[in-house]
Structure formats: C-alpha cells, structure tokens
C-alpha cells in the first residue's frame, strides 16, 4: 500500500466521494452493510462510474472495523460486477448496479398487496405480526444467500 503512495501521489489529492457508516444493531453482517451503502450511493447518484472507493486503511481508520471485512465487501462488489480493482491504484466503480425497472417494481408491489398481504390478514395477522414475519423472512433469506455465497466462494478457492 505504500507503493501507490509513492508512485501515484495524485491519488491522495482526490479523496473518495463516499465514506462508510455502520449500524451495529441491524443484524446485517458488516461487510454487507458496506456493499449496500455503495449500492445505495450509486442509486442515489452520489457515486458514479469511475469513482474510486476509499482505501482499506482509511475505511478501517474511520469506522474501526476489521480490514478483512472491508476486503470482503470490496470483493463482493467485484463479484457483483460493480467495481474493479486495479492493482496498485485502487478499486473503481465500473458499472452502476442493475436497478429494477419501475414496471417490475409496481408489479412486485401489487403482488404483495393483493396476494401475500391479503392472505396474511385473512388468517388474522395484525400489522405488527406482519412486519415481524417479514423481517424474519428477510433476514433468513439474507443469511441463506450469504451462507450459500460464502460456501461457493470457498469451494472456488479450494
């Protein structure tokens, strides 16, 4: 990491446009929070193609997390095709994340309202119960995706 400092001093002059934050109570794995924050920043236009993500060292110094977590998040972003790492230079945004079209969004929404939510009310669930159920299902699907992801990844390493 010292190498890029020497060879490319100009990199220091352009701080990355994004800085990360952390919600420890969310239950979302830390690396996933970083991934989501990058994606959200892209969607909202704070990050654009060609922007550089902050250095691992800087992320670690600002929010006090394990450097491996940052590396994992950056790798995840690369796997998702959002960023690309250029050795000795940094990690850069190459593609905006695939945003869902308005049409698909509307469709999902109406399916939820006319389908699942109606069924839920039909069996007598109250609002609180529905929210709780949704959260539990969401976190389960997230962990499932997560554990499958890391399994296939480590298989790849082996």
């Amino acid at each position: 990491m010292d190498i890029d400092k020497d060879s490319l001093p100009t990199q220091q002059d352009h701080p990355s446009p994004i800085s990360f934050g952390l919600d420890l109570r969310s239950g979302v794995p830390t690396y996933l929070q970083l991934v989501q924050q990058v994606e959200a920043a892209l969607r909202l236009g704070h990050l654009q193609v060609g922007d550089r993500l902050p250095k691992v060292k800087d992320v670690v110094s600002s929010i006090a997390i394990n450097p491996n977590t940052v590396l994992k998040a950056y790798r995840e972003l690369e796997i998702r095709g959002i960023t690309s790492g250029r050795p000795g230079v940094g990690t850069f945004i190459v593609v905006a994340p695939p945003t869902i079209s308005t049409k698909a969004f509307d469709q999902l929404r109406s399916e939820l309202v006319t389908g699942w939510l109606r069924d839920a009310r039909g069996v007598g669930l109250e609002d609180d119960a529905i929210v709780a159920l949704f959260h539990s299902a969401l976190s389960e699907s997230m962990y499932l995706a997560n554990s499958e992801g890391s399994r296939s990844e480590s298989d790849g390493d082996a």
């Binding site: 250095k55 691992v56 491996n68 590396l71 000795g88 480590s154």
Partner: protein
C-alpha cells in the same frame, strides 16, 4: 535433524540482532535512576562522614586513648549499617516492586529477553556497588591510618576484622544479592524489605556470636606449624568451644566452670587463636570474602530461578514436541472439526490488498 534442532535453528534465523548491551544499560539507568542515585549518594555521604571522623580523631598519646571515643562507635555503626542498607533499600525492592506494581509484565515481554535484561541490571548495580563501596573502603583505610597509633580496636575484634576495606566490598555485594533474592521470593516491597531486615539481622547476629569465632578456630586448627604446642592449643580451643555434651574440655580433660570463667574473662582463647593465626590474618579475611561472594552467587542464581528461568535452565519446554510443531494434521483436524467453509478472506487478503 531433530525437531528440536530444527526449531532452534529456525529461532536463530528469525532472531533479529539482539539488543546491544550499551542500550540495555541505558534502559537500566532510565528505569532505576532513583535507587541508583540514592545508592551512589549513600556511598559518597558515608565516605565523607568516615573521612570527617578520621580527621576528628584525637589521640592522647600519653595514655594511648582517644579524646573522642564515640567517633569510633560512629565509624563502626556506619561501616556495618551500610551493607545492611544496601541490601534492604537497594536489593530487596529491585524485583519486589516490579512484581508488586505488575510492571514485570511490561519488562519481561520486551524484545531484549528477560535473562539478558536481569543479567545486565544486576551487573550494572554490582558495578556501581563495587565502585561505591571501594570508594568508601578508601575512606576506611584512611580512618585506620589515623587510628594506628593507638590500635584501640584489636584486629581480631569483630568490628576491626570486618571493616577491612576489601572484605567490606564483598559484604556489600553479598547483602545486595541476598536482598535481591529475598525480594524476588517475597514479591512485595514492604514485606520484602521486612524480610530482608530480618534475614540480614539474623545473619549479622549469627556472624557475631557464632560464625566468626568458629572461623577463627577452624583456621587455627588448620594451621600447620613446626611447634606442637601451637597445634595443641589450637585444638584445645576447637574442643573448648563445644564438645557436643555441653562440657568444656581442655586437652581431653574437663574444665570446671570456674576455670572456664577465668579463661573467658581473661580472653586467653583469643590470645591463642590470635597467636596461631597471626600470619593468617588475611587468609581468614579471604575466607570470609569468599563466603560473602558465595552468598552473593547463590542469591543471584536463586533470583534467576525464581524469575521463571528454572524450567528453561533445567528442562526443555514441552511445546517443542514434534507433534505440536509439525502440525498440519493437527490444525487440519481442528478445522475439520469446526468444519464448513473456511473463510477465504485471510488467504486472499494479500491479493486484494494491492488493489487499494
């Protein structure tokens, strides 16, 4: 190549060049500058006081007595309390405070290596002690010169004997090392000082009432001369001091208490011993110096053992077993037990690190 040898060679290869002695001495002076300064001051002050006493001694040549005999008392007190103070205030707290305050956890985990550090610390202290007590012994010598016209203190008197300059240095060193050892054993400052006071007092008392006399007897009985009578008398003294039945024997015969009392009061035995040993005065002092230095060595070795050097000096640590060291199977088994995906992030850390 055995596993052990392999490990040692690996240790050597990895070893950064050790810390230079000069640096460690600097560290010792930073860490112990207060006690070292106190000790140095103690020596200088004692030397000055002894010098002042020697200047103040006034001899009445007519009666061969002093005008100010209390000076002799001050001198003796000083000469005997100095090793005592060094042992109690310099030796005992040296390691005891480290243990009490927990700073040994700091000192003993530094890259210098704990044995090397302790060795250099003790060596620095001993150098200062030898220099300081040597300086004081110069003053002692000067005191004797001033005192020589009178010789009120017979050379065999315990005070005169032990304040011989070189013996004095050995005494200081022995008291210091004994204090260090006691401090290392007790590991509490105040308790260590108390224990050192007790031990050194008992030692001094033993020397005063028992060991000194016995050493004279021992030396006199070992003297070989052409004169049978000297041998006989030396032998007489040896038996007379004790014969195991609480009886005092003279040349195989019993000595009545009254006879003993006479001999004792007139100090005949001292006379004989002195007579026999007159040429051996320095040998006896050398013997005592050797005894003191032995005490010092035992104290230092004891302190090392107490500091956890024991198992490293005497036995090989078990951790160097091949089974543990060459542990691919062991660690594999462990990971297998935890099972599942071994996160790849540790391995790939270096690859992705470059990208930032």
């Amino acid at each position: 190549m055995t596993a052990l040898a392999e490990q040692e060679s690996r240790g050597d290869r990895l070893r950064t060049p050790g810390v230079k002695i000069r640096k460690i001495v600097r560290a010792v002076f930073i860490r112990n500058r207060v006690p070292l300064a106190v000790l140095a001051c103690l020596f200088v002050a004692s030397a000055l006081i002894i010098h002042w006493l020697s200047l103040g001694i006034v001899v009445k040549t007519s009666s061969q007595t002093y005008e100010n005999p209390q000076y002799l008392l001050y001198f003796r007190l000083l000469v005997f309390s100095l090793p005592f103070l060094v042992g109690v205030l310099g030796g005992a707290p040296l390691l005891a405070t480290e243990y009490e305050s927990g700073t040994f956890r700091f000192t003993q985990t530094q890259g210098v290596g704990r044995r090397r550090l302790l060795l250099v610390t003790l060596a620095s202290y001993l150098l200062l002690l030898i220099a300081g007590s040597g300086f004081v012994s110069l003053a002692i010598g000067q005191f004797y010169r001033a005192d020589s016209p009178v010789q009120p203190m017979p050379i065999w008197a315990i005070g005169g004997f032990f304040s011989q300059p070189l013996l004095f240095v050995a005494m200081v060193v022995a008291c210091f090392c004994a204090g260090v050892f006691i401090g290392a054993v007790v590991r509490r400052t105040v308790a260590g000082i108390t224990a050192a006071v007790t031990t050194l007092s008992i030692g001094a008392l033993l020397i005063y009432v028992e060991l000194f006399q016995k050493s004279l007897v021992f030396m006199s009985s070992s003297v070989t001369t052409n004169f049978d009578s000297f041998q006989r008398h030396a032998y007489l003294i040896a038996d007379w001091v004790e014969n195991g039945h609480g009886q005092r024997i003279v040349n195989g015969g019993l000595l009545s208490p009254a006879q003993f009392q006479i001999l004792h009061v007139t100090r005949h035995y001292t006379f004989w011993v002195q007579f026999v040993l007159a040429s051996r005065y320095h040998s006896v002092q050398l013997l005592w110096a050797v005894i003191f230095l032995l005490i010092a060595v035992v104290g230092i070795i004891g302190a090392f053992i107490r500091l956890g050097g024991k198992d490293r000096l005497l036995t090989r640590p078990k951790a160097t077993d091949q089974s543990l060291r060459a542990s691919p199977s062991f660690s594999k088994g462990r990971k297998g037990e935890e099972g599942g995906p071994k996160s790849g992030n540790l391995n790939s850390k270096n690859e992705s690190e470059e990208s930032n």
